[in-house]
């Protein structure tokens, strides 16, 4: 972390205050304490829009609320699925000055950080947090985070300080919105992955099976639900390991450091069979075998199905019902693995009602608790205490040691409540590294006709907290000792509320 505080995002569009006023505020609404019916300050964003925003962004924020109200569900998706059309220069400037290694090659990182090799991993850990906080290309960076989790590597592994960010930025993120076949290729040829799963160390006598296995199990085909009909066998894993022998990266101390290289002398010659197909295949022997293999894997419907499942479980809901999974998998497969098509299917408008409230219940991962707070309140980032808090919550980006990425299912995140409460209270009380000044609180809490608890609900959860939780927060505020700012207490409790531990709506 640099010493100088980072600014809140440049104001884009109307402020939260203005958004609030577009609602039914003009009606003289009653405060909770008078017990009269509440006016709803933003009726338009209840339900489906809140559902979409909380799953397709890093947290509620005024510009996105305005945009989804203006553009509607499909219009907002169209806009966000065309990130090049969204001016993101303000966020890019912050990233460039704060996390410069994100745009560097391995050799540039070596030159700039050789005296400070601990810094690139920290910048990598902060990347999703900063992008999530500052960027207007919200869905794009959510998709980057999804793929970085699918193609997970481990930033704390010695050597990854040079390779982790070039892989996740210039390879994964740069191809995050294109075609999956291309994404798979740049992952397979990326130094961070070749190093992490030992493909670079493999050679023709007794090849290493590590990458081969995870390529099939985690990145593409997935394991079968039914052991009687496996998607591939042990012999297929061995064949992939053999086909990919010779795939490695350059370790020369020059600008080619980390570039892909095929070493024919390490390549296992002769016939191999993967899922019944003989290799060398259509493009001939050598490196081309691996390219043909990735073609075959991507042409297998199990890949579309597995990626569809991972995408739904990352973005929307656990254990998707069959109709939903098939709908997404079919659309993705028929498009030839076009990623925007995948995302449109994942976020098809019909899912909100078809899934129903129970099926929609999805725990908010700790990363999105942190970015949700940042986007809702827009503090300056002044120091790095939140990094340790994300570690305590089990979700500091880049630090999941195994290649399966952070878990996405609810069961993994339900037990860890205490560090969430600790983060919530620290964040609003200037103890997490975020400067939320009294002046900023004045800006956030500007609705004199409404209770502080209700305003905290709007600020944090877009008004989605149930009446009972708002009332209970209000009760707490009524009995505070002198000198305690009720606004901070209210924000702490809104962030700690059971409803906010789930994605909204």
């Amino acid at each position: 972390m640099k010493d100088s505080p980072l600014p809140p995002p440049a104001s884009q569009g109307p402020t939260r205050r203005a958004v609030l006023r577009t609602g039914a505020l003009s009606a003289a609404a009653a405060s909770l304490t008078t017990g009269r019916a509440l006016a709803d300050p933003f009726p338009q964003i209840k339900g489906p829009y809140l559902f979409l925003l909380d799953r397709a962004t890093f947290g509620l924020e005024s510009e996105m609320l305005t945009e989804i109200n203006r553009r509607g569900w499909e219009g907002w998706l169209d806009w966000q699925l065309d990130p090049a059309s969204i001016d993101d220069s303000a966020a890019d400037a912050i990233i460039q000055s704060t996390l410069p290694s994100l745009s560097m090659t391995p050799w540039e990182i070596v030159q700039a950080y050789s005296a400070n090799p601990g810094l690139p991993p920290i910048e990598a850990e902060l990347a999703p947090i900063f992008r999530g906080y500052y960027s207007r290309r919200q869905l794009f960076y959510r998709i980057c985070d999804f793929w970085s989790n699918v193609f997970s590597t481990f930033v704390l592994m010695g050597g990854q300080e040079w390779f982790y960010s070039p892989y996740h930025q210039a390879r994964i993120c740069a191809n995050a919105m294109g075609n999956f076949r291309d994404l798979l290729q740049v992952s397979a040829e990326g130094a961070s992955m070749l190093f992490y799963l030992n493909q670079d160390a493999s050679s023709k006598t007794n090849p290493i099976e590590n990458y081969a296995r995870e390529l099939l199990e985690l990145h593409t085909l997935g394991l079968s639900d039914n052991p009687a009909t496996p998607t591939y066998t042990e012999a297929d894993v061995v064949a992939v390991a053999e086909i990919l022998t010779g795939w490695g990266f350059k370790k020369t101390a020059d600008s080619s450091l980390g570039d892909f290289e095929f070493r024919d002398s390490d390549h296992k010659k002769g016939k191999k069979y993967f899922l019944g197909v003989e290799y060398p295949s259509v493009s001939g022997p050598g490196k081309a075998e691996g390219d043909d293999l990735l073609d075959q894997i991507c042409g297998n419907p199990n890949t579309a199905k597995h990626i569809a499942k991972r995408a739904i479980e990352y973005f929307v809901a656990d254990d998707p019902p069959k109709w939903y999974l098939n709908q997404v998998a079919d659309a993705f497969y028929q498009s030839g693995l076009d990623i925007p098509t995948l995302m449109r299917a994942v976020f098809d408008r019909s899912i909100y009602t078809r899934l129903g409230k129970k099926k929609r219940a999805k725990m908010r991962r700790p990363l999105f608790l942190v970015t949700g707070f940042l986007r809702a309140t827009k503090p300056a980032i002044v120091s790095g205490e939140f990094i340790g808090m994300l570690t305590a919550m089990g979700n500091l980006p880049g630090t999941h040691p195994a290649p399966d990425g952070f878990p996405t299912e609810n069961e993994a995140w339900i037990p860890g409540i205490q560090p969430r409460l600790a983060f919530a209270d620290a964040a609003v009380n200037q103890l997490a590294g975020f400067d939320l000044s009294d002046a900023m609180l004045d800006t956030l809490f500007d609705q004199s006709g409404f209770s502080i608890a209700q305003q905290a609900d709007w600020i944090i959860a877009g008004g989605a907290l149930p009446f009972s939780e708002v009332v209970r927060i209000e009760q707490h505020l009524a009995s505070l000792p002198a000198g305690v700012d009720p606004r901070r207490e209210a924000l702490s409790l809104a962030l700690s509320s059971p409803t906010y531990q789930f994605l909204l709506a």
Partner: protein
């Protein structure tokens, strides 16, 4: 006076530790032929620093076994009968996926199981027994995420830092916030309500722990694992109603440069053995009946690969160790418990080139015996409701 309530330290070696290195069949000709740079030599063979530490094996029908040199901290405890190794153990289905087999081992299932379970075997132990006293905290996992092993257990909570596990924020407002949070979670209900109650129970229980008064007879290694287990001992010694601490030790997936003598595997083994030695002596001095159960998802290939590493295999090693104060043995240690399947045949289904170590003891037999005979669970079916599973007692608990 230490409590007589049993305490279990559960350790998962994530990434599949090479059982053929932890406990080496050093005379086996197939082992000698297939292993090159990962080969541990027989004792007294003139390979200083690379020789196995011979361990007496009570079973007798098996080949000669030795520990890798880095496991030396466990030698005396083994000789005293306080450490047992279980060899050629694991999950009986033949997947070589880390994630498949970690889940299977923790949930207590395999691909032939009669039911799919979303809870862990120790979670089910907690759910089917009352616990002791009025304990508000029965199990702690030292880590950010509760492992499947403890999932479904009441009064089980994860934390990477039990020493600083408190209700957060300004003490002047904390009681009010806590009460508000309890009310909101009560209204919202499950699944978060149990999670909150587990957290609050842990907060109140851990608040009573004195973390600075601990004076163990041996120093713990200064590693994250050593530190986690040291904290487990402090909690075990001060919290009689705390039954289980679980922690992971990762870094065993050594496909390249396994480093049996000086590299990664040696460092991991030194960390594991040194920590367990410090812990067992610590608990022995304290007197609380204590068992350590160490498992890993599978072993590694007999055949060494092209970069002096090993790939995913089948049968692996589990460790059961225990101390009971001055009363001596609590496990049937000093032996390698195995139905040794040999390394000389393509003994796996489907067979794999070069042969591998098969799984001949279902790991559930070991888990179940710890659950029944040490933790006092009354029924195998509480722990492993899979009706296709038949418990076979292997004699690990005395």
């Amino acid at each position: 006076m230490a409590t007589s309530n049993p305490f279990l330290l559960s350790v998962f070696l994530r990434g599949a530790a090479d059982g053929l290195t932890l406990v080496v069949p050093y005379d086996d000709p197939n082992y000698q032929q297939k292993r090159n740079l990962t080969r541990v030599f027989p004792p007294g063979s003139g390979n200083p620093g690379k020789e196995a530490i011979h361990i007496q094996n009570a079973v007798g029908t098996t080949p000669a076994f030795g520990m890798a040199p880095a496991m030396q901290p466990l030698e005396t405890l083994y000789t005293e009968g306080k450490v047992a190794f279980i060899h050629a153990t694991g999950v009986s289905s033949n997947s070589r996926s880390h994630f498949d087999q970690q889940f299977n081992m923790e949930a207590g299932v395999n691909t032939n199981s009669s039911q799919q379970l979303a809870t862990g075997w120790l979670g089910r132990h907690l759910a089917t027994t009352p616990g002791t006293g009025n304990g508000l905290l029965r199990a702690v996992s030292i880590g950010g995420i509760l492992p499947i092993t403890l999932t479904g257990g009441p009064l089980a909570t994860p934390t990477p830092d039990p020493e600083n596990y408190a209700f957060p924020g300004d003490p002047a407002t904390a009681p009010g916030r806590r009460s508000a949070i309890e009310d909101m979670y009560t209204l919202k209900g499950e699944p978060l309500l149990s999670s909150l109650n587990n957290a609050l129970g842990a907060i109140d229980t851990l608040a009573a722990v004195n973390w600075s008064s601990h004076a163990p007879p041996l120093p713990y290694p200064t590693s994250p694992f050593g530190d986690a287990v040291r904290k487990a001992a402090i909690m075990a010694q001060q919290l009689p109603d705390l039954e289980i601490v679980h922690t992971d030790l990762g870094g065993w997936d050594l496909h390249s440069d396994e480093g049996v003598f000086t590299g990664a595997m040696a460092a991991n083994m030194g960390d594991l053995a040194g920590t367990l030695e410090a812990f067992l002596r610590d608990m022995e001095a304290n007197g609380r009946p204590t068992v350590v159960l160490v498992v890993t998802e599978f072993g590694r290939t007999l055949d060494e690969n092209s970069s002096s590493g090993t790939d995913h295999g089948r049968g692996g090693v589990s460790i059961v160790a225990g101390v009971n104060g001055a009363q001596g043995g609590i496990v049937n240690g000093g032996q390698v418990i195995t139905q040794w399947p040999g390394l000389d045949i393509p003994n796996l289904s489907p067979p794999v080139e070069g042969g591998d170590l098969a799984v001949s003891i279902d790991i559930r037999d070991i888990q179940a015996e710890v659950g029944l005979d040490f933790l006092g669970n009354p029924s195998v079916s509480n722990l492993f409701p899979d009706t296709n599973y038949t418990y076979v007692e292997r004699g690990v608990i005395a």
